[in-house]
């Protein structure tokens, strides 16, 4: 799109309501809830990251930045950085691209559109505990239905001991869980695109692929940007449950991502100070990453 370069700051509609008090009132409910249920606990977590204490908080010792030093000096921690990057990028790509493709296809058909939508959305509602059981039944190298099929195709499948295969498995599980989500918002985004625009291009003789890249994709950019941010955050923060159920970080440390380590060290192993330090580091990384996304990626996003 041609207009993009012309905008300097964040592109916002130019017409704005002049009002001094109203915006604060509008923000108040969300800020109140955020302050009480997020910032207060988060500040506690920040404080905790500088303590060494037993789980029950009976003996507490202020250790300054020792937890951070210890975490960052651990070669395993640096290893899980690498794992996290591979995992996050792969998960975001495999969660978004198929979802977009399916949404575009679902926008094309008339008959059965509602049924497709329903069928593609509600797997999202399967309780995670059941999903974990199903993964075992499907992919366990000895008994999994799909594992058995793979074996009969001559593929040796053993994610329990083969690191890369375990990675494929957790990426598939994490992306699968998020596809429905992305699909729904892409559908909503497509709904907002005026048909008249697409029709006009069609009359101009633009082919299907060309129409997608020149009209639909740029108009979907705000949605895609939203989903990119959400999926990055998802891959970084919301996937420990899946990793816990599917591989437990193994084999070895092949699928131990940063957030899984935070979860496992803090929630399972009860090493609170260090786990808090890790979550602070993780937050800093993702905030930086998001800032970069807003600074550079959003520039390419065309808003109306």
């Amino acid at each position: 799109m041609t207009k993009v370069g012309g905008q300097k700051d964040h592109p916002v509609p130019r017409a704005i309501f002049p009002n001094k008090v109203l915006p604060y009132l509008l923000l108040a409910p969300q800020l109140a809830i955020t302050a009480i249920f997020f910032y207060w606990p988060a500040s506690q977590a920040l404080y905790q990251s500088m303590l060494r204490e037993d789980p029950f908080g009976l003996s507490t010792q202020f250790v300054g930045l020792a937890n951070f030093r210890h975490v960052l000096a651990d070669p395993n921690y640096l290893h899980s950085f690498q794992v996290t990057i591979i995992f996050a990028v792969a998960t975001a790509v495999f969660a978004m691209v198929p979802a977009l493709y399916l949404a575009v296809m679902a926008d094309k058909v008339v008959r059965g559109r509602g049924i497709y939508r329903t069928l593609l959305i509600w797997p999202y509602a399967v309780a995670p505990a059941i999903a974990g059981m199903l993964w075992l039944f499907l992919f366990n190298p000895s008994i999994g239905t799909i594992a058995v099929m793979l074996r009969s195709l001559g593929i040796s499948w053993d994610p329990l001991l083969n690191g890369p295969q375990a990675m494929i498995l957790v990426v598939a599980a994490a992306a699968w869980k998020q596809i429905s989500y992305n699909f729904l918002f892409f559908v909503a985004g497509l709904q907002a695109i005026p048909k008249s625009l697409v029709e006009a291009a069609s009359i101009d003789g633009a082919g299907e692929t060309k129409r997608f890249w020149t009209i639909i994709f740029p108009l979907l950019a705000p949605t895609s940007f939203f989903l990119l941010v959400i999926n990055t955050v998802y891959a970084f923060f919301d996937t420990f449950g899946i990793i816990h159920a599917v591989t437990g970080g193994g084999p070895g440390k092949a699928t131990e991502t940063l957030v899984y380590k935070v979860y496992n060290d803090g929630f399972v192993n009860l090493i609170l100070g260090e786990s808090a330090a890790q979550s602070v580091i993780l937050m800093v990384i993702v905030i930086a990453l998001t800032a970069v996304q807003f600074r550079y990626v959003e520039r390419r996003v065309h808003y109306g």
């Binding site: 999202y124 949605t223 808090a276 979550s279």
Partner: protein, 282 residues
């Protein structure tokens, strides 16, 4: 319609069918498992087609089998789940559409600071801040209340970001025109913004309803009474991974039943997914 060529439609249907097959397979497999006997489930591999115990399993589960849930009727659990899911979805949409409205359509000091303050809340899952958050809940006396079950989960930036993204696509001319017509912020919000946002609201409602519906760890922490439990907690109570035997066939049935309300929501929300904006209806 743009494309009436049947070949295009066939391709689209094929792609969708493959997508449905891959994505909905776990649901199908859950259903398959719910129609087999416990013996079959316990001796994998599990067959790919439904078995002959459909009636038997479903009647057992519905009439007495879910007695494992612990003295509380399924209706109560479903009711709790519904309340929690609806409150979370509505609450989130409400607070975030307001804050996004403020951030996009008003200019005021610290605007972006506020946006980022809200935005950062995307990044700290409950598991990581359990101890301090629990303490807040106790201090406010919110244990075993619906407020305690829902308020902390509304503190998330997803919806705000989505509405911001959407509002920014609304042409400036539209706002200008509204102002020329003498519409104040409230009229503009009600008559223009809300109707335009209905697809997004519908999408968010579906997602947040399911999010609330499948919540597990948080309800577990803030409820100490069985009659405040949700259906997902009950489901987890039925599943034993190590120590004892699990009636997997009944678990699978319960899981299928627990998926029905979200399906209902998706189907009801379909109505809102109609094209709006510049184009005239239909």
């Amino acid at each position: 319609m743009i494309d009436n060529r049947p070949s295009r439609r066939i391709i689209a249907h094929t792609v969708l069918l493959i997508g449905v097959f891959i994505i909905a397979f776990p649901i199908y497999y859950t259903f398959v498992a719910s129609t087999h006997s416990l013996q079959t489930i316990l001796r994998p591999p599990l067959p790919l087609i439904p078995g002959g115990h459909f009636l038997e399993n479903y009647t057992t589960a519905l009439f007495g089998g879910i007695g494992r849930i612990g003295g509380v009727g399924v209706d109560r659990l479903l009711w709790n789940s519904t309340i929690v899911a609806v409150l979370i979805a509505v609450g989130k949409i409400f607070i975030s559409i307001l804050s996004a409205y403020a951030v996009v359509f008003f200019r005021f000091p610290l605007r972006m600071t506020f946006f980022w303050l809200i935005f950062i809340t995307l990044m700290l899952p409950v598991e990581v801040r359990i101890l301090p958050t629990y303490k807040v809940m106790v201090d406010f006396g919110l244990i075993d209340t619906y407020a305690g079950l829902t308020l902390p989960l509304m503190a998330s930036a997803t919806a705000t970001l989505l509405f911001r993204q959407f509002f920014m696509t609304i042409p400036g001319e539209l706002v200008e025109a509204a102002r020329v017509d003498g519409a104040g912020p409230w009229r503009f919000f009600k008559d223009i913004l809300l109707p335009l946002s209905k697809t997004n609201i519908a999408a968010l409602f579906v997602i947040q309803f399911i999010y609330g519906w499948t919540q597990y760890l948080w309800p577990l922490l803030v409820t100490n009474r069985n009659d405040m439990g949700t259906i997902v907690i009950a489901l987890r109570k039925m599943i034993s991974f190590a120590d004892a035997d699990t009636e997997w066939h009944l678990v699978m049935v319960t899981c299928i039943l627990a998926i029905l309300p979200p399906i209902l929501v998706v189907v009801l929300m379909q109505r809102w997914f109609v094209r709006g904006l510049v184009e005239t209806e239909k």
